[in-house]
Symmetry: C2
Subunit: 507 residues, 2 copies
């Protein structure tokens, strides 16, 4: 409208504008701003961008100058990080200020709940953000907020805010994150719950939350060159985000549980009451449509995660075939990663390169122009000096199949094993295995084969495992006898592409 307001729903109901904190007005504004920025960067056309600047100016007036809204801070964070993007292309400091205002106001004053059943934790206003130590509440709201906090920490060189971000990030990746990079252990409030509370079949792990964690991690990487951040982006990218979309690109998961037991939907034989279980197949449309476009735009923007360049050092954060050109420097990366750990990078006018050594990699071999390279390892990055103008860097990272255990405090994964190869978390589907998946014993030194599946366009694994012999007794005092089986595993992101079937990550 004339004053800059831009939301088709509320333009028809102007009297409801800025009345209800749950109405997602600022959330939608943020997404529109992000879209306008990207559209401008891609096309150079600034009509949409200017509309969004007007909108941001108007929001600044309503919230900062005139204080006219029924609430002070967004019910669903997102605009915080969007305003920083708007600042980046417009250089209008007001947008940065508005973002910082929303961040620093949150939790400092009593504001209305967004829903009667959601408390202050759900919207992260239980404490001023600088005092928050744990990831709380709605996991998408939360990680969008933390991303905005990290942005503001960068822009204002705000070490207090950076420390708060570090503490929260550490809480997530060390206590509240699925192995897939998913977060949000409960569908109730779509929320973070408690440390080590990571249920598999009853988990939530919304696609948007995985993406939001990648946003947060990538911003932390700008604040601190530590491989844990890029490792986390990688974990999300190949697992908990990618599972959100079907292999044909047509259907989506909103939640991404680590275990699907279709039988759970059939157990209540004698009643039409049902328990709440996750859906077992992706859907084309959801009534709440956040996740599908979020996956699409994340994949479209993946190039931004590969390189960074700071203080004359080229950082290799992700392994993806790509060409990079920035001022007079160039890099050209070729790899079939994550199918193998072999990466070749040609560089031009680069004097120092820092290559992430992933957490799943034990041995790495680096050659520069055919000669063994000497590097120093710091916070998970391998730093190499380059003496030539043009260099060829060949990286060979070992990528064996590895067995993973959860921290013993994760009750849901007790006595269970997951399997990874490189960054890929694997899962077992019933459709590939004609034996029960709940009692598998792995050998610590497991024999395996890696096979290409044309069907799934992915590397699948065949492992030698043992399972107990079938028996008739319901309870027995006799130890099980075990028999050998070949277990087929597929990448987690491939699950539920061949019809409804049992699926387990933790075996």
């Amino acid at each position: 409208s004339e004053d800059g307001y831009f939301n088709s729903h509320f333009l028809r109901k102007p009297e409801e504008r800025w009345k209800n904190r749950e109405d997602h007005e600022l959330y939608c504004a943020g997404h529109l701003m992000e879209a306008a920025v990207e559209y401008y960067k891609a096309t150079g056309k600034d009509k949409f961008l200017k509309l969004m600047q007007d909108y941001a100016d108007y929001i600044y007036k309503v919230f900062v100058i005139e204080d006219l809204a029924a609430f002070k801070t967004p019910g669903h964070e997102e605009i915080e990080l969007a305003l920083v993007k708007l600042y980046d292309v417009t250089e209008n400091k007001k947008y940065l200020e508005l973002s910082k205002y929303f961040i620093d106001t949150r939790g400092t004053i009593e504001e209305p709940y967004i829903l009667e059943k959601y408390n202050h934790y759900n919207i992260q206003d239980h404490l001023p953000v600088r005092q928050q130590k744990t990831a709380e509440g709605h996991s998408v709201r939360a990680s969008y907020l933390y991303s905005g906090m990290a942005d503001i920490a960068v822009k204002y060189n705000d070490t207090e805010l950076f420390e708060a971000c570090k503490t929260i990030f550490s809480n997530i990746v060390n206590k509240r994150m699925y192995i897939t990079g998913g977060t949000g252990s409960s569908h109730l409030g779509e929320a973070f719950t408690l440390d080590y509370d990571l249920p598999n079949s009853k988990g939530y792990a919304e696609t948007c939350a995985a993406i939001a964690l990648a946003f947060f991690a990538q911003r932390m990487l700008l604040l601190e060159k530590n491989s844990v951040y890029a490792d986390t982006v990688e974990r999300v990218m190949y697992n908990g985000m990618l599972s959100g979309i079907s292999l044909d690109g047509k259907a989506f998961f909103y939640e991404n549980p680590l275990e699907i037991q279709p039988v759970l939907n059939k157990r209540n034989v004698s009643t039409t009451f049902t328990e709440r279980n996750p859906i077992t197949q992706r859907k084309e449309v959801f009534s709440c449509s956040c996740c599908p476009p979020n996956v699409i735009r994340f994949i479209g923007a993946i190039n931004g995660y590969i390189y960074s360049y700071e203080q004359d050092i080229l950082f290799i954060n992700q392994y993806i075939s790509s060409e990079m050109l920035y001022e007079n420097i160039q890099a050209d990366m070729k790899t079939d990663f994550p199918s193998s750990g072999n990466v070749s990078i040609k560089t031009k006018n680069i004097n120092q390169i820092a290559i992430r050594k992933p957490y799943w990699c034990t041995d790495v071999d680096i050659k520069v122009n055919g000669n063994d390279a000497i590097y120093t390892l710091e916070k998970g990055y391998m730093y190499l000096g380059l003496t030539e103008t043009n260099n060829t860097i060949d990286i060979k990272m070992d990528m064996p199949v590895r067995l993973v255990r959860s921290n013993p405090k994760v009750h849901e994964d007790s006595k269970k094993t997951a399997v990874m190869r490189g960054p890929i978390v694997y899962c077992a589907e019933g459709i590939d295995n004609d034996f029960p998946l709940n009692q598998i014993l792995f050998n610590e030194k497991c024999e395996y084969k890696v096979n290409k599946s044309n069907d799934l366009d992915a590397d699948i694994l065949k492992l030698r495992v043992k399972i107990p012999k079938e028996s008739d007794e319901l309870y027995t005092f006799k130890p099980f006898e075990y028999i050998d089986k070949e277990l087929t595993l597929i990448p987690f992101y491939c699950f539920a592409n061949r019809g409804e079937t049992e699926m387990r990550v933790w075996l």
Copy 2:
């Protein structure tokens, strides 16, 4: 009322009489009849009994002769077995006929659901009872029905009905029963679900259902001398029934889950929505008051489960100190069972005795008048001829601590171990163990001590086990290091007597 009807609620609302199949009129009638029979047997006073005979006559008229009710068979079975008891003291065959009518009519005609959300499985009228192969629906309704079926099979020497009972009994104890003797895996419909679907913390295992299974098992024992029936009574008696009452006798559990995680009630930090979890402490009063009096009357009637006498053979079904006098035969049993497996029985005028060899017992030593006895084992009973008028039979059953595994098809118990000693199922409570209970490793040959606990008036166990060392990593490629711990276990029936704390049967 004048016509024989006897239900204080409906006497005030006569127009609602026999209108709603869910109204429990026949269920309440059954319990009243049982009470009247026991009162008559205990006191010789027949006023209450006569009122109940009038009531039964009236029900016969309404349901069999005039067909005046809005339904044909009870919405909640119970009267079937009660009418057989009424027949036993009155010898009026009409009551037996009425019971048989209810049993044989069930599932042969379309009747209304009891609640919109409960289907025919919930009330066992999905099929004529003689065609039913699996235990279905509301687990108390179900096992009361099966008890009535077994009664009628006995009274009418009805082998078809007996075969149906055998099939259903086998389905329960081999596929749908908790190790405690509890049944009913879901609170939704308080019902049986699917074979091997036995969730621990989300199970239901209503106290009444355990008791109803003991009823069913004891009646089956009259049809077939097979130790599985008395074993099942024993399993219920010392575990899933007894857990229904607190050690001080003042508070009760309606449901008896095999795992209590108090933390589950605290996980939804950011919302007031809650998941459905079982209560963690017994209560004095429930709005539905079936379980507490059922426990009390079961314990009061436990003498009926010890002996049976058929074809000049005295059967020892349960080991409980007691004196038995029947016509000219006598038995006097002394034992501290289940604290030990030592039982001494003095008999008089008994020529043959059959002693149950429990499923948990590997070695048994029997002496008659000080000499090693020779016995033949048939269907779990040890048959001995006695040559003297007065005999002393000394039985020593070994009672080591035994590790138990569930059938591999029970997903909830995958890779888990339970511990039993004799008939007692043990559990671990957080209050006794200052380390996590979710990752315990047992040695197949476990070292243990049995200690008397004055606190709980029970034998508690101390086992040497291993648990993983604590670690900071959420996910690790390194196998765990294990440390030794002493695990304290208490009988399952003792759980939740010392405040809210974690509890696990399957470890």
